[in-house]
């Protein structure tokens, strides 16, 4: 390589010399040295200091031998020629320095561009990695060409460091590499023969370690650019940290939700189980101590309390069982073609006693299409809404159940004349353990499960449950929307005789 530069320089000088000699046959060339300067400059620019100095010496020699009198002799008669020589040397030195610097700068610029391009591609790839596994693979694929392969990524888990991913890595990591990685993770330096172990540092901490096998003849390969490698490692560290933080936030959110639900459940259980139990136990023991002597009316009242509280307990347990079924994903609706009026009627009959003090108005058109529903789930959903309507509206007021076809769906509106639900709570009431906020100090006792179960059951049937905006003071209307099956052909049967 180097030798070739000198040969090239010599060739250039020879070329210039030959050219000048040819030219001198036709024109007078008093300052032939100027032509040789071109050769020296060219050598300096193309090949650097050494070849250019070599070119300078060759030029002086050629000049003195071929052009300066006496021709064909290295003897220089004219002192002028000595000046030429000096000029050649100075020009060669200066030009080559300048050229070398320019070349170095160009190289640096190219390298930086490559670095920036590489980093950019790397960060794009990292940002596009949705899962931890994808991210790990992206990191290793980009690091391997720079640091070496096989390459392993080690991440902290629990108290230790475990191999999270590897590229070309056949077999487990040698123990000494693992140990070195542990030291690097702790912030120390560690060296293992034949391995390169790098930390993945963010500004705050080391998030992991990369270990790459190094080839035995490390010098033969192009040495990795340390800055570029560092930049890649830094980027990888940031991406890993971001992924970890994202996961921690998601975990924390799920945990917080779970905790909120558990707390609500405990509050609800302690209130909704303990209160009726206390009443039952109290009434029963009172009954026992009263004995024969007790006032018959008092005995009857105590017995009624026991019955009522036991019923309350029963309905609460039923609701919690329903909710458990929902949460454990046990709802597999058994869809069949049914009449909504049957479901409404069954729900009304089940809630007959609760609704006894209300005026119930039902409007279900006879030509309502048949729907594909799970009878049990839908009857439950409707009954729960009726239950709420009865609980949260004054005795003697109207509860209406109106079905209609709207926009190709069946809409079932169940409305009461109670205090209504505040606009901000219209969605919240469908959450478990949330009671409507408008009933402040209301005596009505509910577990706050009714509407949550209603919505879950309706959704299992492909429908939707919402609280309509009916305006203040106009009660609560819960709308259940249900899809109409494509072919709800209710007619036709065996041996139809009318």
């Amino acid at each position: 390589m180097r030798l070739l530069s000198y040969v090239n320089s010599a060739a250039v000088v020879a070329g210039v010399g030959a050219g000048a000699h040819l030219l001198a046959q036709f024109v007078l060339l008093p300052h032939v040295s100027v032509l040789f300067i071109a050769a020296v400059v060219a050598s300096a620019v193309l090949w650097g200091l050494g070849p250019s100095l070599f070119a300078a010496v060759l030029s002086v020699a050629a000049g003195s031998y071929f052009f300066y009198s006496p021709i064909y002799s290295f003897r220089v008669a004219n002192p002028q020629d000595l000046v030429d020589l000096a000029v050649f040397v100075v020009v060669a030195a200066l030009t080559s320095r300048l050229a070398a610097r320019a070349r170095a700068r160009a190289l640096e610029a190219r390298r930086r561009q490559a670095t920036i391009g590489g980093l950019y591609a790397f960060s794009e790839r990292l940002a596009g990695s949705a899962t931890a596994a994808e991210l790990n693979a992206s990191i290793l694929e980009h690091l391997a060409p720079v640091i070496g392969r096989p390459i392993h990524l080690l991440l902290p888990e629990g108290d230790g460091l475990v191999p999270a991913a590897s590229l070309d890595g056949a077999g487990p990591l040698p123990g000494e590499v693992l140990a070195a990685a542990g030291r690097v993770m702790a912030g120390d330096r560690a060296a293992v023969e034949g391995w390169r172990v790098d930390p993945l540092p963010t500004a705050q901490r080391i998030v992991g370690v990369v270990a790459a096998a190094q080839p035995a003849d490390a010098d033969a390969a192009a040495p990795p650019d340390p800055d570029y490698a560092r930049a890649l490692l830094g980027q990888a560290a940031i991406a890993l940290e971001r992924m970890r933080l994202g996961r921690e936030i998601a975990d924390a959110r799920v945990k917080a939700q779970g905790e909120a639900l558990r707390e609500a459940l405990i509050n609800s259980v302690s209130h909704d189980l303990q209160t009726p139990l206390a009443a039952i136990l109290g009434s029963a023991t009172a009954l026992e101590t009263l004995g024969e002597a007790g006032d018959p009316r008092a005995r009857r009242e105590l017995a009624t309390t026991i019955r009522e509280e036991a019923e309350r307990l029963g309905s609460y347990i039923g609701n919690v069982l329903d909710l458990t079924r929902i949460r454990s994903g046990q709802i597999a609706p058994r869809l069949e073609l049914v009449e909504l009026s049957d479901i409404i009627d069954a729900a009304l009959r089940r809630k007959e006693r609760g609704l006894a003090a209300h005026v119930v108005h039902v409007d279900v058109p006879a030509d309502l299409p048949m729907l594909r529903l799970d009878l049990f789930l839908m009857e439950h959903a409707v009954a729960n809404v009726l239950d709420n309507a009865a609980k949260y509206s004054p005795a003697g007021s109207e509860v209406s159940v109106v079905a209609s076809v709207q926009d190709g769906e069946v809409a079932l509106d169940i409305a009461d004349s109670g205090p209504g639900i505040r606009p901000g709570d219209r969605e919240r009431v469908f959450e478990a353990f949330v009671r409507g906020g408008a009933q402040e100090g209301g005596a009505a006792a509910g577990s706050g499960l009714g509407l949550a179960i209603c919505r879950a059951f309706v959704e299992a049937n492909g429908g939707a449950a919402t609280v309509l905006d009916t305006g203040p003071g106009r009660g609560t209307t819960v709308r259940i929307r249900l899809p109409v099956p494509a072919r709800a052909d209710a007619n036709g049967g065996p041996a139809g005789d009318d």
Binding site: G314, D345, L375, D497, D498
Partner: protein, 237 residues
């Protein structure tokens, strides 16, 4: 002197359930026999010939439905099934096997007494059927095959009348989809619940003032239909 009070056999493995049933039923003039297992229940049914059996499905030695099936091989004694399982398929199985009623635990004494009374009355009526069935404004003259609603005669197709006839014969009791379908259309169609729904809808439009809120022909969701008896009909709205 023989005891004229009706004998009821209570089959349940839970002593506290048996205790409150015994106290409640004896207080209302019934004689109560108890059995805690399926085997004891079958032995007592043969030995004591009770007028009615209250049968819990969750027995330790055998499923209550097996007891029901074994009973039905030789006896038509009314059987009232008790169960904590409030599931349609379970109810259907019990009714198809010949249960007279199905009561879901927990239940109240008043409800149970009403159902026992109804089952005992059906038993008496089965032995001496009356040709005229009346409930509210609905009147079915079985001898002359005439149906009246609020004193106005209603014309029914032969299939609709047959449907009503079966329901009248079982008045107060749940008749399952299967039972109705195989009786009216034959066993081939016993699973075509869809056809039955259409026919019930038509029948209701003839005999009910508001078919969407029937007062006589009631739907037992997912199980079957039941014709209300006079004591089950609420006063006029």
């Amino acid at each position: 002197m023989t005891d004229a009070r009706p004998k009821i056999l209570v089959v349940d493995d839970e002593p506290q359930i048996r205790r409150f049933l015994r106290l409640g039923l004896e207080g209302h003039g019934y004689v109560v026999l108890e059995a805690a297992t399926a085997d004891a229940a079958l032995r007592a049914a043969v030995a004591a010939q009770p007028e009615l059996i209250v049968l819990d499905l969750g027995l330790p030695d055998r499923d209550g439905l097996e007891v029901l099936g074994a009973l039905r091989e030789w006896s038509r004694v009314p059987v009232l099934v008790l169960s904590v399982r409030n599931r349609e398929d379970e109810k259907v199985r019990a009714f198809d096997l010949g249960a007279d009623d199905y009561v879901v635990k927990p239940f109240g004494m008043a409800e149970l007494l009403a159902r026992i009374k109804a089952a005992l009355r059906r038993r008496v009526e089965r032995e001496a059927p009356t040709p005229l069935f009346r409930v509210g404004g609905l009147e079915v003259d079985l001898a002359r095959r005439i149906v009246r609603v609020n004193d106005a005669e209603v014309r029914l197709s032969p299939k609709q009348y047959r449907l009503l006839q079966i329901l009248v014969a079982n008045a107060g009791k749940v008749v399952t989809h299967r039972q109705l379908l195989s009786e009216v259309w034959g066993v081939v169609h016993r699973d075509d619940v869809q056809y039955l729904r259409v026919f019930i809808r038509k029948l209701r439009s003839r005999i009910e003032a508001d078919p969407a809120r029937p007062r006589y022909l009631l739907t037992e969701l997912g199980v079957g239909y039941r014709l209300r008896t006079p004591d089950q009909v609420p006063g006029p709205p």
